[in-house]
């Protein structure tokens, strides 16, 4: 019987080899010999099916190409959950010889920080996190972008559209109600919705906004449902901060204009998509790759803005947008870049009927989430200046209500 087993095993191995030989022997060598041993590793929460991660993956690929890195020098780990597996993924990338590791999801942060403390020779960069400026671990860095500026400009397109609808008699001035589908009532979302609303109101004074949350970053069905219920409530324009195409599709079905995020939705909603704001991560990724290659310092908490090309608007859908929209956006953009216009100018909004002349924000993360830093001065709320991740968490300024 043992003899038979041995024969069987030999047979199996032979078959296995045979199967292998069928392959193309000249195919790409995974180990690859290249002149530089510099490597960069990326950790993504999902894969390219999530618009959030796709935005990062596209930027990473483009940045690596722009920096002249070969395929062997760039390692992607997709579908890494916000758990110990994130630490393991980072450690494995270090084992593979990575000199720089980047992670894209908020919940990755404490695990990346753990890896940064252990592997001091490797640079770790984390998007959307909040700990770098207080932890001061030399090889751990945070980054975000002043996306609230992009939201504000996208809001202008929405406001112009509302004005057009009022002029055409489709709605009354009081009926200019925007619906907003948010993921969580987290500072990042609140900051985005408020700047969007302020942008809209800067051109359409009577605009109001109703907000609803899905309590999930990615849920197509929930986001669609939320958008539909806002439309049923009388909202005549929808925007959202969540990672799926649920809301834009609901708007296309109902013929309600939509302002999106991260990607252009014109192809999936040609008759209702107006414009989208997005963060372009490529400049930051090029910056960290070059810095890690040259051994120069990476900014510990980096927040580029619209003037750096890190915040962008996607193509304006002229079939849907009101005439003059592009000009209005360009004019406002110029003022933002010049510093003559501030998104959170305290003369443009009130909270509980009062002007906001002081606000303590929770900038330095602690267990109790204590407000610690004064962020209102010189007549505006200084968003993303004390740290890169947004901290405008006032729920809500007058004009915005929760559904």
């Amino acid at each position: 019987m043992k003899k038979f087993l041995a024969i069987a095993l030999v047979l199996v191995m032979a078959l296995g080899l045979l199967a292998g030989c069928a392959g193309d022997p000249a195919s790409n060598d995974a180990e690859g010999g290249n002149d530089s041993d510099f490597k960069v590793g990326f950790i993504f929460l999902h894969d390219e099916n999530s618009t959030y991660d796709k935005n990062f993956m596209d930027a990473a690929t483009a940045a690596a190409k722009a920096c002249g890195l070969t395929d062997d020098q760039v390692l992607f780990k997709t579908g890494i959950p916000e758990s110990d597996q994130c630490y393991n993924a980072a450690a494995e990338l270090v084992d593979e010889g990575c000199d720089l590791v980047f992670a894209d999801s908020f919940g990755h942060e404490s695990y990346i920080l753990q890896a940064a403390k252990e592997f001091t020779d490797v640079q770790f960069c984390h998007a959307t996190g909040t700990l770098a400026h207080t932890e001061q671990v030399p090889n751990f860095h945070n980054a975000f972008a002043s996306i609230y500026e992009g939201r504000y400009l996208a809001g202008i397109a929405a406001g112009m559209k509302l004005n057009q609808m009022i002029e055409n008699g489709d709605i009354t001035a009081d009926g200019a109600k925007i619906g907003y589908v948010g993921a969580f009532d987290y500072a990042e979302v609140v900051s985005g919705m408020t700047s969007f609303y302020l942008g809209a109101r800067s051109v359409c004074e009577s605009a109001t906004m109703s907000v609803t949350y899905t309590n999930s970053w990615f849920d197509i069905a929930l986001e669609k449902e939320a958008a539909l219920s806002l439309i049923n409530d009388g909202c005549v324009l929808i925007s959202q901060h969540a990672d799926s195409e649920g809301a834009p599709k609901a708007c296309e079905e109902k013929g309600v204009p939509n302002v999106a995020y991260n990607i252009s939705t014109i192809s999936m909603a040609p008759t209702t998509a107006l414009i989208s704001s997005k963060i372009n991560w490529q400049p930051y990724m090029e910056l960290i790759i070059k810095a890690a290659q040259d051994g120069t310092e990476i900014p510990y908490d980096y927040c580029p803005g619209i003037e750096d090309g890190a915040v962008e608007l996607t193509e304006l859908n002229t079939d849907v947008a009101a005439p003059g929209t592009q000009e209005a956006i360009d004019a406002a953009k110029e003022k933002l870049v010049a510093g003559t216009l501030h998104v959170f100018d305290t003369t443009t909004f009130t909270v509980d009927g009062k002007t906001l002349d002081s606000y303590m924000a929770d900038v330095d993360t602690d267990d109790a989430f204590t407000p610690d830093t004064e962020v209102v001065s010189d007549g505006y709320f200084h968003e993303s200046e004390k740290r890169s991740a947004p901290y405008f968490d006032i729920k809500y300024i007058d004009g915005i209500t929760e559904k």
């Binding site: 078959l15 022997p25 992607f76 579908g79 919940g107």
Partner: protein, 367 residues
């Protein structure tokens, strides 16, 4: 005419067989794996142009490439095995416990709650004992609810346990919302600086304690199911409730006791995942293992020793798939397709192990 009778017999007839010698059944399985690898090779060549041998060797590296990878593989194996061991007594009793995912989650949630509220205000050992007790209790309660309804009113346990998973997920979301007022929905590492309530590293290996605990549970479960009176009662209830009743087994008691045990081990898995591994809780802490465990348990024929092997196969394929995706810059889905094909063959070949295919002619000759 005798011819006429023969013609009414179908061309292919399938009959159960239980006389297959052990090496023959293993030969069938090995052939299945080889066939799966050949098919995968063809797919790899057609779709990517890579050399399959290279792809397979990278796959093996995913589990054995470095000592770190080996530890991660062993840790994943331990967690999957632990949950599989948990569902096994229930399955053996023909109680379809699809709710392991939720039972693990509430166990983890209980651990996280104790860690979050007590922090470092207690002796570390006492804290760990309380956390363990809390998670076992949570798992037991979560499993006993459907078991109670089944024993009392004969409700459908498949649906009941399945729905309890969703309740558990929502419960975790709810508590994270309470514990994290910023609304980010991310708990972060609990007690990162004090490390209160973290299972200690032994011999400098952070996963070793997890692995040893699961190894002990595996041995205990093997003995419990095979040699104990309660284990025997479970098999009898599984084979036939009426027989069980006839020979004086209290079926309701066995159902409740077995599900309690099932839930307790799930709770233990939740404890190990939170206190010994992630030090945080998310809605995905169980990560689908509660469902994969069902496959591990069935493939292992409810035998704790074989389940070590089946959970190894699953974890090995998962780790390999991730490694392929990274190394060859392929979409994770492609690696998952390969894993799917291999699993399909492994599961499919059990048919040929358990059943015999009789062709009409073959049958005649046999006579």
């Amino acid at each position: 005419m005798s011819d006429k009778i023969k013609h009414t017999e179908p061309l292919i007839r399938i009959s159960k067989r239980d006389d297959l010698v052990w090496w023959k059944s293993w030969l069938v399985r090995i052939i299945a794996v080889v066939l799966a690898l050949i098919l995968c090779s063809v797919i790899i060549i057609l779709l990517t142009g890579y050399n399959p041998i290279q792809v397979y060797s990278v796959m093996i590296r995913g589990s054995f490439g470095t000592s770190r990878k080996l530890w991660i593989m062993l840790q994943n194996l331990a967690m999957l095995l632990c949950i599989s061991l948990a569902v096994t007594p229930a399955f053996k009793m023909r109680f379809w416990n699809i709710g392991a995912e939720g039972q693990v989650l509430v166990g983890g949630l209980a651990t996280a709650a104790v860690m979050f509220y007590v922090k470092d205000s207690m002796h570390p050992l006492l804290l760990i004992i309380i956390m363990l007790a809390a998670s076992l209790l949570a798992g037991i309660v979560w499993a006993l609810i459907p078991a109670f309804f089944k024993a009392k009113w004969n409700t459908n346990e498949t649906l009941f346990t399945l729905m309890m998973n969703y309740v558990a997920t929502q419960l975790v979301s709810f508590f994270i919302m309470i514990w994290v007022p910023s609304g980010s929905s991310v708990m972060g590492i609990i007690n990162q600086n004090s490390q209160a309530g973290w299972l200690p590293e032994i011999f400098g290996q952070k996963y070793l304690l997890n692995i040893l605990i699961v190894a002990a549970v595996t041995i205990a479960m093997f003995i419990y199911l095979k040699y104990s009176k309660q284990g025997y009662e479970i098999s009898v209830v599984g084979e036939s409730e009426n027989t069980a009743k006839y020979i004086g087994i209290n079926v309701k008691k066995v159902i409740l006791r077995t599900m309690g045990l099932s839930g307790a081990i799930c709770g233990l898995a939740g404890f190990l995942l939170v206190s010994g591994t992630n030090h945080t809780i998310t809605t995905t802490t169980a990560g689908g293992m509660g469902f994969t465990a069902i496959m591990v348990s069935w493939l292992g024929k409810f035998n704790a020793a074989i389940m070590v092997l089946t959970s190894f196969i699953i974890v090995f394929l998962q780790r390999g798939a991730g490694e392929i995706a990274t190394k060859f810059n392929l979409n994770q889905s492609f690696a998952d397709i390969l894993t799917g094909i291999i699993l399909f063959f492994i599961i499919g070949c059990e048919f040929f192990v358990n059943y015999k295919i009789n062709l009409r002619n073959g049958h005649k000759e046999g006579k």
